[in-house]
Symmetry: D2
Subunit: 346 residues, 4 copies
């Protein structure tokens, strides 16, 4: 059995990791940490886990955690992650980090969007853990930067077109919508039930959301040239789910059938990407609780623009499920092990 630690287990990605790992036949969760709830049982923080995870939450002492684990999942806020990841690596353990701390290759970019990086040398080594993009590198990594939820939906939605250089790189727009769990479990007025329910809003409009450098880094690599994005996130009154509606202008006229064939071929064999039939479009409801990313495709009859709609569960393929997928690759387990989850419907 693989021993794993979940560092930062009192947030939504933490509890989702536990839920998924519980069904993994080769994994044993050996320790869970939380600064604010240390000393409580995990099931006191998340009563959903009663009688299953009554283990105590520890305060984070990296060396102690590392002793008991083969792989460490860090589900901490940014900055907190980079304060402890080097210690985990120094003990010889592998780390799958769910924060933003190791996603950017450039320390300058990290500083521009966040703050000065504490261990920029690790940025070079860390592997951006999107299995559908770089499975082999992930298998060999000791530090995985698990992708953000919005970026996963956007990169998977654009990859086939980008790699074939079929779209004008200056034309890309992602109008993205997220459920509320993406905002975390902190006590804030903005995410109170009555502030969110029965409303829909845009936020971070105009190119200011911190996921932008991560998206641009990855789509530029795929396109082989500097590629920008206009990205507008929105908040949907639901717990889980991200849906990105992507717009791009093709460099030459294409049909919906062409695009569809391209995506089917590109994602052939991928267990977690479902390319929908022509004329079908995804709903977050049909991926809820699963590791799927569903993709629907159209060509706008009036402008020739390509429209791609991608949907995933932000806590699964957008966070904890993808983290387990990375773990499976690193450990040589079948990639779907513990992740063959049918979406909850309704």
């Amino acid at each position: 059995m693989l021993k794993v630690a979940v560092v930062g287990a009192s947030g939504y990605t933490g509890v989702e990791l536990i839920r998924i790992l519980h069904n993994h036949p080769e994994v044993l969760v050996t320790s869970v940490t939380s600064e604010q709830s240390a000393g409580k049982r995990l099931s006191d923080v998340f009563p959903s886990l009663r009688n299953r995870y009554d283990i105590l939450l520890e305060s984070l002492v990296p060396e102690k955690i590392a002793e008991k684990a083969d792989i460490i999942f860090t589900a901490l806020p940014h900055k907190a992650a980079m304060q402890v990841v080097p210690t985990f690596l120094a003990t010889g353990k592998k780390v799958i980090d769910l924060s933003a701390d190791y996603r950017l290759k450039s320390a300058d970019e990290y500083e521009a969007w966040y703050e000065p990086h504490l261990n920029p040398e690790l940025l070079v080594e860390a592997v951006y853990g999107l299995p559908e993009v770089r499975r082999a590198e992930i298998a060999a990594a000791r530090l995985i930067a698990n992708p953000g939820c919005y970026p996963t939906s956007i990169i998977l939605g654009l990859m086939p077109l980008l790699k074939k250089k079929l779209i004008d790189p200056s034309s890309i727009i992602s109008d993205s919508k997220s459920g509320v769990s993406g905002a975390g479990r902190g006590a804030k007025v903005d995410t109170l039930f009555c502030e969110v329910n029965e409303g829909f809003k845009a936020y971070g409009v105009g190119g200011v959301h911190r996921h932008i450098p991560e998206i641009e880094q990855e789509i530029s690599l795929l396109a082989g040239e500097k590629t920008a994005i206009t990205f507008t996130p929105h908040l949907v009154p639901m717990d889980r789910g991200i849906l990105s509606t992507l717009y791009a202008t093709p460099v030459a006229s294409v049909s919906a059938a062409d695009i569809h064939r391209l995506y089917e071929e590109h994602y052939d064999g991928e267990a977690f990407v479902r390319v929908l039939k022509q004329g079908e479009f995804p709903s977050t409801a049909f991926v809820r609780g699963s590791n799927f990313c569903d993709i629907g495709l159209a060509v706008d009859s009036r402008s020739g623009r390509i429209i791609i709609v991608s949907a995933l569960d932000n806590l699964v393929k957008g966070a904890s499920g993808q983290a387990v997928q990375n773990m499976n690759i690193i450990c040589g387990f079948p990639e779907t092990m513990g992740l063959d989850l049918i979406p909850h419907y309704p």
Copy 2:
């Protein structure tokens, strides 16, 4: 007192008309019709109206309805509207039609998107009732085509830029999101609670939604040239509200401050359009139950694209509130009479 009839009172726009007209000091609702519920009390169909609107729903006999009313609101499905509107007009009464039947100027376009029009001669006469665009024509009209909900959010969002010819007409994208009441009160699996709740989806992707010809007709008129739109509607798990996120490429570089000043000046004096401060963006929650259309503005720092976010309540400014606003204009009442509604929050 102005006597009004609400034809098609058993749908969501019908009951919303009643709610708004109830607070109008100059209006008396003299008859309400419904084919499927004729003979029942209106308050049996909508128990919210108990003790206030216990009047009987009639089957629609246009002459009978016209006798008792000065103005007739037709809140019928398309096709059903054009079957009765000519009769109402023939009796000398004015009609405010909430269906799509008189919104398009071209009978060919109507036929292409719907079916052959039964009285195409009225298409020329009907006035597309967006007060912020053509107040004077509305005042003189006897047939108002009350605008669609999506189109209202898009046209108001784009008007200042279009009139000044500041944007490339081929660059316009509207990524729009609607609450579920827009789908009406018919019994369909697609709009059951469990099918909609906790999900978010795109529909009508690729230029196939019937609001497109209406939008393009109006933005072309404003721009003074043929202007197309890429329009993607989405369904939000909430009762009310539409939010459109609009993207357009400026013909010359502009700043957010420039755009903001333009909108403030353009909408100066409009009672129901609120241009938000720079850096603020609308939520449907802040217009719920009111006749406001809120507009926020940004310029994307990376691409120079202009992003406009507009929000309204689809049942009020997107339907019944706008219909009452048109009635006020036609009747010479103050435009805000009965419509000075503070949004419900929360």
Copy 3:
């Protein structure tokens, strides 16, 4: 014009007061206060009020507020209210207090459930402001204790039976359910969207909720004898609404028709209590945004138990609407002035 102040305007009952008062033809809101948001515009705190209530929030200086107002609504947390109410009264102004501070007649009871009372002498004078129970006393009062939301639903639901002594006072159970706005606008994990949405729970089980002494005081007065209640509150994933399902054993066998007649007669002439037809039961959806309390009645065929279901909007009849109703009575305005609101549906 009556000048009113809203003290504690940055909470949900505060903004709802503003919404209702805005439609009151005889009222002008002259000042609004908030400690945490003093110096901000009210519309910055509640963007729903943009362009309508851009007035500045003041820090609470009772003398300054009293100078500008004829009537003061205090929408403060308990304890904060009793710290300022005496000052308002001393200036000769009338106060309608929406907190719990003046609802209990007994200072001992107040201390047992809350803490020592700061001005117990006012408990005797304060009038528990349920117009359907004591309209005349309200008219003559200078201090109104505006009832709690749960108690209003329960007292109105039981009053006709209690006054006729038709039920066993030891048999009463209220299984009550509330929307989330009742929990206020404070930043707490418990009322985050993701904690509340898609869940239903009981809380305060076993006779520990602070509304109990208030309920028992009032139902005892109505029954003319000490009357206890078993009260279980629950949290519903919706913004607004309270529904109480009340169970009581009759002292002698009664039919549903008897009960129904009793309630119809009892509430005959009441503008805001709607006794539903036999076989009909209320939904909070049909009172949303209005000052109605809807009541449905049944007799359980198997046990003879009487079941009363009452529903109201916790922010309107359960708080701010009732406060305005009290204001109307005190000021000699028609009781429905500004309150003839049709519920929002949907």
Copy 4:
């Protein structure tokens, strides 16, 4: 591998069965049926199942289905079930019926609440499949009547008290609340999103809900005497979950600690019943997607009444999960096989 058929796979209990069975290591779903969707793929009806259950839905020909299956789950409406179950049994196959058709022991009672029974002789043989009540009988059965969702929550909530004869059988009240999926997937106005969302209502008030005879049959058996219930169901605006708040008067004074000990002992060793700590109460959110029934306990300090709160997922422990639990018992699999599901949170 056990071959199973899901008859009536196009409803919510059908798709939930598929979701659960997919994770069962010993089961293969060999056929799925639907009259209205025969010829379509199961994944066309439930896109959540894309790429996993693209098998064709068949029209129901019992002999054909029985040929391919060892066990048949019938997830049909009442009446439809009893039309086919005898044929399945005649082929020697075992049946787990999720309808109401075999839950009542008395054909007269069935007729009184539903209609004349088509095969009353099977009522005697059928085993009411609540494992926590009669595990041994289930193991030996060839026809399981899978319990209703409300009854499961009520029977599990009352069982320890009933068996010990600690409560007055005439005092029992169940105030129960259900999510919307319990109403099925049929196209009805009543369960449209806009009719249900943001509202809470009682229905079937006064002893008329069809689950009553089933509840009374089972609690009478447990109590060893005829025991009635006052049962009021309510509709909660959420997809899944049932919470029952149960009230009962003890025959002699008991403490909360006594009751708690009783429940802990009674349910000791049960994998799916979680007795909460004193002072804790369940939420449907903490059992969502799992086979758990959570139970919280209190004694009302004012009346001595016992209050039991039980919560489960109506589609899992209240339907499909319990059906799989019964299948495990019948087949000799570990009772938790395929059912060790951590609740989805959030």
